[in-house]
């Protein structure tokens, strides 16, 4: 009796887990199947039917060549902003986290607390004030309007701080100093070689945050040649017939996009971040658990 009730409860649990698996996974499966079908097939065939590779190739060609290869321009912009921002974030955060963990200076505690507060506060809260400031500084419309804010990454400073505090004994550095190594050499030749995992982790997080950012480029860029792919995707919705039928008039020379084209664009836009998620999953998770697992 008690046993059958236990099995019953387990069964309910498994059913709930499966329902959520459907919720989380079906949209992604659908997204990857959509470009293999034509818009008509999307409406008539089963949502999980596979179309054909030739349709997939055709969809890919349509979306890449659309509007004078706009998608490639957006991807290039995204790459410039994200890699620029990530490089700056790493160059600034690694030494700062190191100094906060392993050196001593007046104001260290204050800097740590400010870093905490800015890190926990949603970054979006600063976007509009930043826009007003960047405008005032005359940087609006330049790549620096994005690279500089992406490079300001308190979360990376904090991860580095935690890492150095936990992994490098202060005695090791003290020994090197007694042997006559200067501060810079201690950092460059002892701390940094031990810090490769954290450099990668900060890099991953900064890259994902920059690539996926929408609000900041939305206010900082103003034309097609500047848009990163996140803003590009939004532009594409406007050209997609099923979402904006008014823009589509029969016989017009404007190339109209359809759902499979838009799905293809989404896949291309998320590909870099998805790869990071798939191949660096373990490091990303360990970063998110930085505190949780070491209570």
């Amino acid at each position: 009796m008690a046993q059958s009730r236990r099995y019953g409860l387990q069964l309910v649990g498994i059913v709930i887990l499966l329902v959520f698996t459907v919720f989380f996974f079906v949209p992604i499966v659908w997204l990857f199947l959509a470009p293999t079908k034509t818009d008509g097939q999307l409406l008539t065939e089963s949502p999980f039917a596979f179309g054909s590779f030739s349709t997939f190739a055709h969809t890919l060609h349509r979306i890449v060549t659309y509007s004078d290869y706009s998608l490639l321009i957006w991807l290039k912009n995204s790459a410039i902003y994200s890699f620029g921002g990530t490089a700056l974030a790493v160059i600034a955060a690694i030494p700062a986290g190191y100094a906060l963990a392993l050196t001593h200076f007046i104001g260290r505690r204050v800097l740590l607390v400010i870093t905490l507060v800015v890190m926990i506060m949603p970054a979006t809260a600063l976007v509009l004030p930043l826009f007003l400031e960047i405008n005032k500084l005359g940087l609006y419309g330049t790549i620096w309007a994005l690279i500089l804010p992406f490079g300001f990454f308190p979360f990376g400073v904090y991860l580095t701080y935690i890492y150095f505090s936990a992994t490098i004994p202060k005695d090791l550095l003290a020994a090197a100093r007694i042997d006559g190594a200067g501060e810079w050499r201690v950092f460059w030749h002892i701390a940094l070689p031990l810090a490769k995992p954290i450099v990668a982790l900060v890099g991953f997080f900064a890259f994902v945050a920059s690539w996926n950012n929408f609000f900041l480029p939305f206010v900082m860029t103003y034309d097609n040649s500047q848009y990163p792919v996140q803003i590009g995707l939004q532009q594409l919705i406007g050209s997609t017939a099923s979402f904006n039928p008014a823009n589509y008039t029969a016989g017009s020379s404007v190339v109209v996009l359809h759902r499979p084209d838009l799905a293809m664009a989404v896949i291309i836009a998320i590909a870099p971040v998805l790869l990071v998620f798939l191949f660096a999953q373990r490091s990303l998770v360990s970063g998110m658990l930085a505190g949780a697992t070491k209570e």
């Binding site: 959520f20 050196t103 507060v117 007003l132 979360f155 701080y161 505190g291």
Partner: protein, 315 residues
């Protein structure tokens, strides 16, 4: 944006609590270090912090206070703006749905996964739940545009059951808070499940075994032993999600680009409103005032967590 950006923060908060502890230690100079070295290493970060973290706030305060109408008039204009109250009502409704469902489902799913005997299966589930996080931003909104369109959606039967025959039925204005909550949950829940699961793994096995020996079944163990032990993580998730939720921007903006989405105004959320008055009417003072209201909300939450972090460590 950034409901999803909350996913980048969990570790942060974890560390936040440890950090305030570390920061609480008395400064002591390690043998042989020079103070100037520390300044040198933090210089670039501090420059960025001043330029991009502190200066914009000061500039926004200046703009909000220097309105031509006199001190404080920018705030009065903002509060009296007929779009101000509805914008906050919208996000309040959105957050109520999102925070309640996220708390129930994230905690429930984590506890269920933790009860699974097969580790492999559990890891697969967590991975599947986590993957949508890669689609944060405009991508997830587009994916859900597809999902909510009854003509092509794999969930068409569900939509039909609710009586939605066409896309514009689904995205009726009254449904928007619910829709944005689904989007936020879809991209963000997985990361929180991973974090909570990690926290559950820290519970000593002996404790759970003791409970089981005393006759507690899986459900009782979950409810009476595991849940109280991850309570502070639940609070942490709620507080961070609340802060992120007030900033809602991407979802209504991108959904608004589908002209069928006639119900989504350009000032649906407070952040959208701030941008709207700044970009359309050049009312930077009012925009700065609205931003400051949002900023104070975010700052209050951050300060609360850092401060609470001190409370936590006493336990």
């Amino acid at each position: 944006m950034s409901v999803p950006s909350a996913t980048a923060v969990p570790g942060a908060g974890a560390s936040a609590r440890r950090g305030s502890r570390a920061a609480g230690n008395r400064e002591r100079a390690p043998a042989g270090t020079s103070r100037t070295a520390g300044y040198f290493f933090v210089a670039l970060y501090v420059a960025l912090l001043l330029l991009l973290g502190i200066a914009p706030v000061i500039y926004a305060i200046y703009l909000a206070l220097s309105d031509s109408g006199g001190l404080g008039s920018a705030f009065v204009n903002a509060f009296n703006d007929y779009r101000f109250v509805p914008a906050f009502e919208h996000i309040l409704e959105f957050m109520l749905i999102w925070l309640v469902s996220q708390t129930i489902f994230v905690v429930g799913l984590t506890l269920m996964l933790h009860n699974l005997a097969a580790q492999r299966v559990g890891a697969t589930f967590r991975f599947v739940f986590y993957i949508p996080g890669a689609l944060a931003g405009a991508a997830s909104v587009i994916v859900w545009l597809f999902m909510l369109d009854p003509s092509a959606s794999p969930f068409a039967s569900v939509l039909h059951a609710f009586g939605y025959k066409q896309f514009d039925n689904t995205i009726a204005p009254g449904n928007l808070p619910m829709i944005f909550a689904i989007m936020a949950f879809w991209t963000g829940a997985g990361a929180w499940i991973v974090v909570m699961y990690g926290a559950l793994n820290n519970i000593p096995h002996e404790l759970i075994e003791c409970a089981q020996m005393d006759g507690a079944n899986a459900f009782k163990t979950a409810f009476w032993i595991k849940l109280p032990l991850i309570r502070k993580w639940v609070v942490y998730m709620l507080v961070l999600s609340f802060a992120a939720g007030t900033q809602l921007f991407v979802e209504p903006t991108v959904l608004g680009s589908a002209s069928l989405g006639v119900g989504v105004s350009k000032y649906w959320s407070p952040n959208q409103l701030a941008w709207f008055v700044a970009s359309q009417y050049d009312q930077v003072n009012e925009a700065a005032a609205i931003s400051l209201v949002l900023l104070v909300l975010g700052l209050a939450v951050a300060a609360l967590l850092v401060w609470r972090g001190r409370l936590f460590e006493v336990e």
